[in-house]
């Protein structure tokens, strides 16, 4: 249906795509995988008309398409769902779905609201999403917004759907529903193209997998007649094979060894670095009792919407809070992040681009931003550039941040490297307690593994870590202890032994979803 023919994209000094030829067939789910910087985003941007190919072409039905602008792609029936939600918050769901192809009467003088509403209801119904078309987009949860984004593509009669990391921001339950939805779109005869770092999803639903590395297609896999994903030789392919194909080398376990022994663990709890007593974010969570010792990594699991992020934000003074926080045994109350920072508490946001870093500032400026006072003289009148460059260089080296020109805007770095910058800027404030929200969202396997060992090393150095994540293997792999949140409060806790036991993931899911009474779903 859609074919990329020898597509090459060159940026000044970089060849982002090198003669990539791929077929996207109707009724097929085609997964593109690769490490960050492998060229996946560039490929999607070419297909969706956001950037032109330097050489080669995108063809539909054997005819080369002129894709100079996203609207060209839309006219050609190609729709893309971006990682970021692009809904207009002040419009209703129905208006958002109709955006760009409104049902109008009298030559555009009047929008036929009723027809738009019906159409939206029909599309959403077909997707199995119980979302009221008349509600405002601003009232949607992230998962719901994602469904509306997809509804938008379907309503525009797109035959080719491109999804960029569609499940990255979804909890496990919603992710499953989304995957089911993709399977349904394939059955409707659409070509579905998706990029994902979740290799289990790829193995589960993709009919064809193409692996990109350094801008080239290095390997392809196809689902055989027996329903299993196989390579050219017919051998069965699992996540391990895919991961190896992506990085081009053998990967050991991506999780570092857990070093904290249970004895130490007990001693940690005597002297917690941070203690939450009957704590919560006003209106969002409550009744949380939790202590994290120096050198301990405590995971926080829970479905999206369970109040994990809000609780973390309340700790560092970004939200109104209830209850008590004790740091080093002393009750504290922070009215802003700066106060929390001075008390040695750092929070790395889940929303990297929007909150975690400044994408238009340079790598150096980003790393030194929260701790800028340390690089200034004369009461802030003079920034010591040598000092600030040295601080940045130190972190670039310790974390192996790949950035050729640290003076260049951070947006030129891959997601994994930006995440390391987000961590570095907070570690430079020398915190006693580090709260990391979704530490590896949108980060490739290689960088993930690096971030895990960074966290393990920090804990070994005496930092108290709270790790919030929607990825269970990650939480199980790096936490000494784990707390499960549900409906704004703690639903249970798993000790180190329980975490290592067989079936821990199921145990966590049951706690997170309240076993049979699943109410916090997309509804």
């Amino acid at each position: 249906m859609l074919r990329a023919h020898s597509v090459t994209v060159e940026f000044p000094g970089v060849r982002a795509l090198d003669r990539v030829s791929l077929d996207f067939r109707a009724g097929e789910i085609h997964a593109i995988i690769g490490e960050n910087g492998a060229g996946k985003s560039t490929l999607m941007q070419v297909l969706s008309g956001a950037i032109p190919a330097t050489e080669g072409s995108v063809m539909r039905g054997g005819v080369p398409l002129r894709l100079n602008h996203p609207s060209d792609a839309r006219r050609a029936g190609i729709a893309m769902v971006h990682q970021e939600i692009n809904l207009i918050e002040t419009l209703s769901v129905a208006d958002n779905i109709a955006l760009g192809h409104e049902s109008v009467r009298f030559g555009g003088l009047i929008i036929d609201a009723q027809r738009q509403h019906d159409r939206a209801r029909e599309v959403l119904g077909a997707l199995g999403a119980k979302i009221d078309p008349s509600q405002l987009a601003s009232s949607l949860s992230i998962a719901q917004a994602q469904f509306v984004e997809i509804a938008k593509c379907i309503a525009s009669e797109a035959r080719v759907l491109i999804l960029d990391e569609p499940t990255a921001v979804l909890g496990a339950r919603d992710a499953e529903r989304l995957l089911a939805l993709m399977v349904q779109m394939r059955m409707d005869g659409r070509a579905v193209l998706f990029v994902s770092h979740h290799l289990d999803e790829v193995v589960a639903i993709a009919d064809r997998v193409s692996v990109l590395r350094d801008g080239e297609v290095v390997q392809s896999f196809e689902r055989g007649t027996n329903g299993a994903l196989t390579d050219v030789a017919g051998a069965r392919v699992d996540e391990g094979v895919l991961a190896r194909a992506m990085v081009g080398r053998e990967l050991g376990s991506i999780y570092p060894p857990i070093t904290l022994e249970t004895d130490d663990h007990a001693s940690c709890r005597c002297e917690p670095a941070i203690e939450l007593v009957d704590f919560g974010a006003h209106g969002r969570s409550r009744g949380i009792n939790l202590a994290v010792g120096a050198g301990e990594i405590v995971g926080i699991a829970g479905l999206v919407g369970s109040g994990r992020t809000e609780t973390a934000e309340a700790i560092v003074g970004l939200r109104e809070r209830v209850g008590t926080v004790r740091v080093g045994g002393v009750a504290v109350r922070f009215s802003n992040v700066r106060a929390a920072m001075k008390a040695g508490i750092a929070y790395v946001s889940e929303d990297r681009k929007g909150r975690g870093v400044h994408t238009t500032l340079s790598t150096i400026e980003n790393i030194v931003l929260p701790s800028l006072d340390a690089s200034t003289r004369f009461a802030g009148a003079w920034i010591d550039r040598a000092q600030q460059d040295a601080v940045a260089a130190k972190w670039i080296q310790t974390f192996g941040i790949r950035c050729p020109v640290p003076q260049r805007a951070l947006s030129s770095l891959s997601g994994g490297n930006q995440q390391k910058v987000a961590l570095a800027r907070w570690l430079e404030t020398k915190p006693r307690v580090l709260i990391v929200d979704e530490p590896t969202r949108g980060v490739d396997v290689g960088a993930k593994s690096e971030i895990y060992s960074i966290l393990a090393n920090l804990a070994r150095g005496g930092l108290a870590c709270l790790v919030i994540s929607s990825e269970l293997p990650e939480l199980i792999g790096i936490s000494h202890r784990l707390v499960v949140m549900r409906h704004g409060t703690t639903a249970g806790e798993l000790s180190s032994a329980q975490l290592r036991a067989h079936g821990a993931d199921e145990h966590i899911m049951r706690l997170a979803s309240g076993v049979a009474s699943d109410k916090d779903q997309t509804s």
Binding site: V9, E10, F11, P12, A50, I51, P52, T54, N68, H69, S71, D72, L318, N336, V337, R338, A340, M341, Y347, S349, G354, R355, G356, V357, H358, T359, T360, L361, E365, L369, P370, L372, D373, T376, G380, A381, W382, I383, R385, R425, T429
Partner: protein, 340 residues
């Protein structure tokens, strides 16, 4: 839909984005020289041009910092007239009460600057603590500050009661050796021009070397991210509006001293537009998060040269607005970021 620019010609476009303002300046300079020759190149002409544009230049420099923080200040012209009216009125009252002229002038000058700063702080408080959008809060200031100064003088003129001392700042300057005008009189570099350049250098230094400037950029680029990074957002934003007020106070002092009077209905009228125009021509985006003071200075000079060339060529003043408007739009067109 021919917006896409192929990657290989992007550097040229970026070059134009960055240096376009300098190119424009050079072109205007060349055109002026070609048309007016000696009359334009006459040092006295430059002196007069810089001197008369220094007050707007001072405002534009302050405005650059405000705009980089993703804000705007529409009240600068009204702050100028209010600060000047209050300052001169206070000075006159002091002279009338028998205070020595020198201390009256010094106090009057200080009050002018303090009044500007206070007005700027009012804007800042409304924006930071009242959580009113900068556009709206300073639109209120635009109306209110002007109205207050009209009330002070019954919409008329306030004449300074200092004979020569007060006007020394606005009219005087540093003698420049070897430069004489046609009449053989020695040329001076006016104090107002010196103040304009000194403030511009200070502001550029704040922007590139001081913590305050770095915070302005970070807040302008992404206020939410700045909040999550623990930056003192309220104090930085408050300070940038207070600083803008301070600059307006300085501009007010230059203006009232030069005229030795304050026309409450005319002084500073429309200055906010000239100041914002200079910032935009200079390549600072109204989106905030990045910018440059030196560009603004070139922007002020470009506007000054346009007025100059139109005046010398005898173009009706009624047409000058149209030309300036065209230049502003052109500047934004050339300097807007490419799509990718």
């Amino acid at each position: 839909m021919n917006m896409a620019i192929a990657p290989h010609i992007r550097p040229a476009h970026e070059l134009l984005q960055r240096w376009g303002v300098v190119v424009a300046f050079a072109i205007l300079f060349a055109v002026s020289t070609a048309k007016q020759g000696a009359e334009f190149l006459n040092p006295e002409n430059f002196r007069a041009m810089l001197n008369s544009n220094a007050p707007v230049g001072v405002l534009a420099v302050g405005m650059t910092l405000v705009i980089i923080s993703a804000g705007i200040d529409l009240s600068v012209g009204s702050m100028v007239v209010l600060a000047a009216a209050v300052g001169v009125t206070a000075m006159n009252a002091l002279i009338a009460s028998g205070t020595s002229e020198l201390s009256a002038v010094l106090l009057g000058a200080s009050i002018t600057i303090a009044c500007g700063t206070a007005a700027g702080m009012v804007n800042g408080v409304l924006i930071v603590y009242g959580k009113i959008a900068p556009f709206v809060a300073t639109l209120g200031g635009l109306a209110a500050f002007r109205s207050m100064s009209l009330a002070i003088a019954d919409a008329g003129e306030i004449r300074a009661q200092s004979a020569t001392l007060f006007s020394a700042l606005g009219r005087g300057g540093i003698p420049l050796p070897y430069l004489e005008n046609a009449a053989g009189k020695q040329l001076t570099l006016s104090y107002s021009t010196v103040i304009f350049f000194a403030l511009a250098i200070a502001a550029q230094w704040i922007l590139s070397r001081a913590r305050f400037g770095r915070y302005l950029i970070a807040i302008g680029a992404n206020e939410t991210a700045a909040r999550y990074a623990g930056l003192p957002i309220a104090s930085v934003r408050l300070r940038v509006y207070a600083l803008m007020g301070l600059f307006a106070g300085i501009a007010a002092l230059i203006q009232s001293s030069r005229m030795n009077s304050v026309s409450t209905s005319q002084l500073g009228l429309g200055s906010e537009l000239d100041a914002i125009a200079a910032v935009v021509i200079g390549g600072t985006s109204l989106r905030g998060g990045a910018g440059r003071v030196w560009g603004t200075v070139v922007g002020v000079l470009i506007l000054a040269m346009i007025t100059n060339i139109l005046t010398i060529s005898g173009v009706s003043p009624y047409w000058q607005g149209a030309v300036k408007g065209g230049v502003i739009v052109l500047a934004v067109l050339v300097q807007r970021p490419s799509n990718h």
